[in-house]
Amino acid sequence: MRTRFPSLQWHLMLSTGTVLSLCFLLTFLVLDGLLQRNFDQQVQSALTSQAMILVEELDRVGDVEAERAGILARFGLAYGMSNGLFQLIDGEGRVALSSDDTAWGELVNSTVRGDDVELYAFFWESRRVPEKDARFLYYRIASDATVRIGMDVSARREALRMTRLVFGLGSLLSLVLSLLLLGWTTRRAVQGVRHVRERAETIRHQDDLSARVPLPTAFRETNELAETFNAMMDRVQFLVKNLRLVMDHFAHDLKTPMTRLRGLAEQSLRRGGDDEDMELAGTVVDECDRITAELDTLLLIARAESGLSVFRPSAFDLAECVRECLEFFEPELEMKGMALAERLPDSMPITVDLQVTRRVVLNLIENAVKYSETGTVTVTGTQDQSTASISVCDNGLGIRAEDAEQIFEPFFRTKDHATREGHGLGLSYCRSVLNAMGGGIHYRPNQPNGSCFTITMPLEPPPEPKEDAG
């Protein structure tokens, strides 16, 4: 589920990046539009005013070809021969008179036909060759005369392009820098949160209740979070310490009188007496032992469920361990005429608490043997890369579907089993210690009848989470 949520850092960077990019793009488009319009207007007004002045000059001299040629040449010189071109085009679209056009090359090889241009209207044209970018204005002053003014706009266009480039690069750089800065700050901010989370993970995995988040973190908010977490841990540690104390005292206060009671009964047994007295004393001793075992199991369950269990993992062969446990029940199975099917691999290397494992496995086998009268007890062992599983199946009474949920609860005993020996803590013990070890226990009905219990255990104890420096 967790992977479906984006990390805060990415979320912030992504949203800020998107907003910033959009802003930059919008600004760029508006600015570029304005610049382009400005450019067009400048060129247009320059050309128009030149045209007006030229036409006025031409009109002044009248239809005298030499005078007109002189005016055009002067205009050409005034605006720079490669910058401005001033021509008069006749009715057939041929260039009649022109200022110096050597710098204009093939740009002026053709004209727009005079007929295409309306009388006293501006006609605009753009022409482009690789090294030159020109804008032309046609202005028809008579049926056989059209003025053409050309202007080289390459330099202006280049300037426009540079402005665009500078703005674009500047925007891109700002965007990258903003994102980097944002990434860095959010990382620092999120780091505090991450610290708290990692520390909480550590505590959850290794039951190290004394671990605290190091302070200060980078920001006030994360400091507050860490402080709250630490305060909560103080409280948890205090409560757990108290719980441990209460459990120890509870055990002590109950067991001390039990010791005396058992001792007195034992003393009577040792000193001897009539059969009835012996019977009585023997019963007291047995009952004391039974209550003690129950009490101990209950304390172990309470410890495991409150995360106080101390496991001592050692490397051993689980298959060998199960075979050993089975040996305990061989006489009983033989007595009942039941069969044993052992499906264990040659070896199942594992590193867990041996005593706890033995007790869990024995519990399952004990149940299988105790609650069946015939059939086969099947013990299966499987193993994958990270876990080992042991299944114990029988053909006994099985468990009613409506009870299946509750069999792992302490003191729960099904009606079918109520008359048998036992205190109803076995499965509860198994579940609590297996869960505490990072494993589990599951029940399923066996076919055609009976029950199957499967336990799973990690092959290695959970790794000590690494200490986070900083």
């Binding site: 039990m258 010791t259 040792r270 305990f328 029940f329 006489p331 004990e366």
Partner: protein, 226 residues
């Protein structure tokens, strides 16, 4: 033999006291650990039985005190705590043995005897055990009674060895499970009864007198006087 008991519960202390009195031991009882070091200096004991939960200093702290004062007397812990953690801690600190409450007096006695034996003779364990007519060769793993060889299975051999090591004493089911099978809890089977029955069939049935006795509510005893 002089034993020193530190136990805050009078009832339990009284019981242990009477038990050891009956067996001819001398036992000094302290209600807490304040006078422990002084008492040991004045009147050295062969073994100290320490309760873990005591008013003032607890058993672990008392043991540390004793070791700091270079008192090397063997120590046996009594505790209501069942956690293995405590057990391991007790043995790490140099305690010699450990018994959880409630305990069987016979078991306490057996452990005390074993500790005293261990601390008094540093000789290597014998390779042959002899109890009355029974002989157990630990190297050859052979058992003989009245000159007749008895074929034993592995676990039966270990069980007989344990009974012979504690000949004359009552050993509880719990001790047998712990020592012969190396389990720290009762596996909930009648395995001990079954193995004892099997052992009886081989060790006692063919002979005139039976050596393995069942003591109701306490355990078993290998009787050396046949």
């Amino acid at each position: 033999m002089h034993l020193l008991l530190v136990e805050d519960n009078e009832g339990v202390a009284d019981l242990v006291q009477r038990g050891f009195d009956d067996l001819g031991y001398r036992l000094t009882w302290l209600e807490d650990g304040r006078e422990l070091i002084a008492t040991l200096r004045r009147d050295p004991a062969d073994l100290v039985i320490l309760d873990v939960m005591l008013p003032g200093k607890n058993g672990f702290e008392l043991l540390e005190d004793m070791r700091t004062h270079e008192l090397a007397v063997p120590v046996l812990f009594l505790s209501a705590k069942t956690e293995l953690e405590d057990r391991v801690r007790g043995l790490d600190l140099g305690a010699d043995d450990y018994l959880t409450k409630p305990f069987a007096f016979t078991e306490l006695h057996a452990r005390v005897k074993a500790l005293l034996r261990r601390s008094q003779s540093n000789s290597r364990p014998a390779s042959t055990l002899v109890v009355g007519p029974l002989t157990l060769d630990l190297h050859e793993r052979r058992a003989m009674r009245e000159g007749q060889e008895i074929a034993l299975q592995n676990k039966e051999f270990e069980l007989l060895r344990f009974l012979m090591q504690h000949a004359g004493e009552i050993v509880s089911k719990r001790m047998i499970i712990e020592e012969v099978w190396n389990y720290t809890f009762n596996p909930g089977t009648n395995i001990v009864e079954v193995r004892i029955a099997a052992l009886r069939d081989k060790v006692d049935r063919p002979f005139a007198k039976s050596m393995i006795k069942t003591v109701r509510g306490a355990g078993y005893r290998l009787n050396p006087d046949v």
